[in-house]
Amino acid sequence: MIDKNAVKEQIATFLKQPVSRLQDDTSLTSLVVESFILVEMIIDLQDAFGLRLVQEDMKDVKTVGDLTQLFVSRAGAAS
């Protein structure tokens, strides 16, 4: 099982940003200007939590909250 905070901490480590900057409603595009870096971050998160996503999963992910929720629910489904 993983929780939202663990996902946020991983994002913060990847982006070298304080976790406090990662509010649920923070948009991903405000954190990551280049889409290439967003791609790398998503791969990093999957490696960190041993999950596999496909593009379809990311369709409605716009904010930090959406992303953490996606990982938490996928980890729950996998366990």
């Binding site: 791969i43 990093d44 593009q55 369709k59």
Partner: protein
Amino acid sequence: MLDENELWVLSFYRSSEISGSLFFGRLARSMKPGAIQRDMTKHFSDEAAHAWYWTSCIEELGAKPIKLSSSYQDQYLTAAGPPSNLMEILGITQVFEKRVVNQYGRHSQLPEINPIVQNTLTKIMADEKWHIEWIHDALKLMEPEYGKDLIDKTLKRFWEADQEVYRKTMQEHEQRLKYLVK
């Protein structure tokens, strides 16, 4: 000497090679050891060399590269959506590389092409063909993990995005690219 349109096109090529290099460089750094890590590192170094070839080509022709804000790859990500796993990254890259080889091939066949541009295209196209090969092989190796159907569906989706991006690029830069489609 380069005219304004040709300088823009060569600068566009340079900018796309830089974007490809930066992307693969970042990925190669975080990739697990193995064949894909090795080939991706080579791919990254090729793209960086290509950016240098274009820079050098433009300078040899007495011009300076134009600074362009967005690359062809950025438009791909907008049209197709960002890839979310390695298979999707390789899929979109495969489609992109085929487009590049096609574009460079057409450019190299222009009847009055400058020999410096021709040499640059020839050098780069040899590498680009290897890029298509290694990605093709890597996608084959991923079939047991992702399933052939999913890989085929992913490639099809990216092909459709490619058509869209190419059409839009040709439309948006019609004047600049006109001499390439004679």
